[in-house]
Amino acid sequence: MTGLREVAIGQTFETVVVEDLKRTQIVQYAGASGDYNPLHTDEIYTTKIAGYPSVFAHGMLTMGLTGQAIAGLVGPENLLRFGVRFTAQVWPGDTLAVRSSVARIFEDDGAPVAEFSVSTVAQSTANGEGREVMSGYAHARLAR
């Protein structure tokens, strides 16, 4: 069983989950998820009709990439809860980094569970510092 054995409150982890996001990856996600909203894949519709500067990623692509990072950290079978708010759009060209930190450790059904606070940040050539695009939490059972 994969997973974390020992974590400490305040411990932080950072993973880059995509670099220079390509429109093609957004198309892949549309096809696999079944969400064909043209705002994500149809540049003509999105710029001329909907009035955005370009297509943008599905929130669920960002959540999916973030979820993979969290699952890799805690072991996919140990994930108990995962929830997010989408706070800003993710654009083609963005590089996404997932920052997670151990917010608390508690007992659930007699087993130790770690709560992580999760923040996914987009960086692009246009913004050096980056901007938060998604924030949330994950609960994971700890290995004993």
Partner: protein, 142 residues
């Protein structure tokens, strides 16, 4: 999200994983699916609105740039999953969606309407596997 039968198929999990940047072989029966895989139940929802249908109207570009629709204004605001157990390749789940709470906020750019939807996914034994809660945000003229 899905209402109806949702088989967790290896090829589907493979394609979904690739879209998330994974470079893996075909998953095997029993492998754990990515944490957000339940959202792909949209593929099995016969009434999912964000998929073009043969002969149906579609708001994306073709010969022209497309159509303004109400649907275009709704954005995904929040998504939450509770895992009662992991979703595994080979599971056959049934999703049942019900409306949750609705609320409004008045922001700088007008009135925002939030709508919650809750989908319970159960396995063939009727046991809960995943509970998904999504919140959509629609901007409305104030």
């Amino acid at each position: 999200m899905a209402a109806g039968r949702f088989p967790v198929e290896a090829g589907h999990v493979l394609a979904f994983g690739r879209a998330l940047g994974l470079d893996q072989g075909l998953p095997r029966i029993g492998d754990v699916a990515p944490p957000t895989f339940a959202i792909a139940s949209a593929q099995f929802d016969p009434h999912y609105p964000l998929r073009p249908r043969p002969g149906g109207a579609w708001h994306g570009s073709g010969g022209d740039a497309g159509l303004v629709t109400e649907r275009a204004g709704g954005l995904h605001g929040e998504q939450h999953f509770v895992y009662h157990r992991p979703v595994r390749v080979g599971d056959v789940m049934v999703g049942t969606t019900r409306p949750g709470e609705e609320w409004e906020k008045h922001g700088r750019s007008g009135r925002l309407r939030f709508r919650e939807q809750i989908t319970e996914f159960r396995d063939e034994a009727g046991e809960l596997v995943v509970t998904a809660r999504s919140v959509s945000v629609q901007r409305e003229a104030s």
